[in-house]
């Protein structure tokens, strides 16, 4: 995160956006391809989308999947990661599988998941969750491993029970990393949301994209992608802001 966000940085960012827009416009006009609309065409399509109802209905449908999937991923991944980090010996057996999950492109697993679970809301949410879970588990595990053993000694010396050690030391110490886990998981969940709809179940945003593609309406396709990017960016920025706010009270930054 660029901390030096003064008026100068804002001007620079705006200038950067302008350069991209102009280059896009020039490329779009020069090209005769149907698949590369110009910047202005895309903006017109975006305006039409934002004022119409289809985009919002699609966003609503997709985000329900996102929220449900992400909530499930967090509810499952954080306790699992914490447990694996706390008891590393049993965790050793899970290691190769977890690493595999982290490396394998989840996209490749989507068809299998849908064959098993069908194409309903729960199955889509499960796909979203499966995108987010591995990174959440790994981050949560690292978070609890990094807890300063001297603090745990102090807690034990003053008579903390195992439950109190979690509440007073492990969880507060892990909190900043758990927030990072959630933010990275959310980014992956957005990916999962788009992928499941594009690949297999044409509802929501994915359905909208396929629909526009079928009609060779390239400006609208690009406009929808911009909307998805904007949502992802907004979620990330919001996540970072929340992290900073909580870290401020929760952690020592020496």
């Amino acid at each position: 995160m660029s901390a030096g966000a003064g008026p100068r940085a804002a001007v620079l960012r705006l200038a950067g956006g302008l350069v991209i827009a102009v280059a896009w416009e020039v490329a779009g006009r020069a090209s005769t391809s149907l698949l590369l609309p110009s910047f202005l065409e895309t903006m017109r399509a975006l305006a039409a989308l934002l004022t119409g109802g289809a985009l919002w209905r699609a966003l609503w449908a997709s985000n329900q999947t996102l929220i449900a999937g992400f909530a499930a991923a967090t509810a499952l991944g954080i306790p699992l990661g914490l447990a694996l980090g706390r008891w590393p010996n049993p965790a050793r057996w899970a290691d190769p599988y977890l690493n595999l999950l982290l490396v394998v492109p989840t996209t490749a697993l989507v068809p299998i998941l849908l064959i098993v679970g069908g194409a309903g809301f729960a199955a889509r949410a499960a796909v979203v969750a499966s995108f987010a879970v591995p990174v959440i588990v790994q981050c949560a595990r690292a978070a609890v491993r990094q807890v300063d053993p001297r603090l745990l000694d102090a807690a034990r010396a003053f008579g903390a029970t195992p439950a109190q050690q979690w509440r007073t030391v492990r969880l507060p110490a892990a909190l900043p990393s758990l927030l990072v886990a959630a933010r990275l998981g959310l980014a992956r969940a957005v990916e999962g949301m788009v992928v499941v709809e594009l690949l297999l179940v044409a509802v929501g945003i994915g359905g909208l994209l396929l629909d526009f593609q079928g009609r060779f309406d390239a400006p609208s396709v690009y406009a929808v992608m911009l909307v998805v990017m904007a949502e992802a960016a907004t979620l990330t920025v919001a996540g970072r802001a929340l992290e900073r706010r909580l870290s401020h009270v929760a952690v020592d930054r020496d």
Partner: protein
């Protein structure tokens, strides 16, 4: 009060490293209200001895008793002050001091009142709402001391508490500890590798040999209580230091 007879301990190796004998039959007796300084070369196992007394570690053979009962874990009658302070970085000075009370389920209002009294007592007025990283090392250790006093232990266990402080700060804290001992008459067991500190603070100095540690010599300092400010020029003090120095030198140059 504290009675250790023939305490042996070997740190088990982890397969690659061979087991390391740490304590080789340590005998130590501490009377109520006494201030005993355990002096030994770095790495001789004196911290292990203190951790055993605090209930953080077990031992292999021999007897370790407090109030005649074998130590079986941390207890409310003992409080440990750590070399590296081990304060909770996300908690204020007040909350750190009240930590032990919180673990015992004391209500917030009451533990805050106790913390405030101790803040006054250890000279941290105006810093109640500060976080550890906003304090100097000396102030952090005052918090560590206050945290130990807050649980009203009969025995204070000090693990090289001033080792990481500059000499001026160290002297100030030593005087505070002397004053606290004089006022509260708590039993104090101090572990240190500083000849000056052992002689300056202890009623008795217990000299440990290099690892695996055994008690080489126990010396009644015979210095007056309360210690006068000019103890540094007292001939008995100077002679005691000289003697301890020579013994330590002989022990470590074998």
């Amino acid at each position: 009060m504290i009675s250790i007879v023939g305490c042996r301990k070997t740190h088990r190796g982890d397969g690659r490293q061979p087991p390391v004998p740490v304590l080789d039959g340590v005998d130590l007796e501490v009377r109520p209200h006494e201030f005993v300084a355990v002096l030994g070369p770095s790495g001789c196992g004196k911290t292990t001895l203190l951790r055993i007394l605090a209930g953080l570690e077990g031992w292999d053979s021999g007897e370790v008793r407090v109030h005649g009962r074998p130590v079986s874990g941390p207890g409310t009658d003992r409080a440990l002050v750590f070399q590296d302070f081990a304060l909770l970085p996300w908690a204020t000075v007040t909350d750190n001091i009240a930590f032990g009370l919180e673990l015992r389920g004391v209500a917030r209002a009451e533990r805050t009142a106790v913390a405030n009294r101790l803040i006054d007592r250890v000279g941290l007025n105006g810093f109640a709402r500060h976080y550890p990283h906003q304090l100097s090392g000396g102030m952090q250790q005052r918090v560590g001391l206050a945290r130990a006093l807050a649980v009203e232990p009969e025995i204070l266990l000090l693990d090289e508490p001033f080792g990481s402080l500059d000499s001026l700060t160290r002297r100030g804290l030593q005087e505070d500890v002397l004053r606290l001992h004089h006022e509260t008459r708590k039993t104090v067991l101090l572990v240190t590798h500083s000849v000056d500190e052992a002689a300056r603070l202890g009623d008795r100095v217990v000299l440990l040999g290099p690892r695996p540690a055994r008690v080489i010599e126990t010396i009644e300092t015979g210095l007056p209580r309360p210690r006068p400010d000019d103890i540094g020029s007292d001939r008995r003090f100077v002679a005691l230091k000289e003697h301890l120095w020579n013994r330590l030198k002989a022990l470590t140059s074998r």
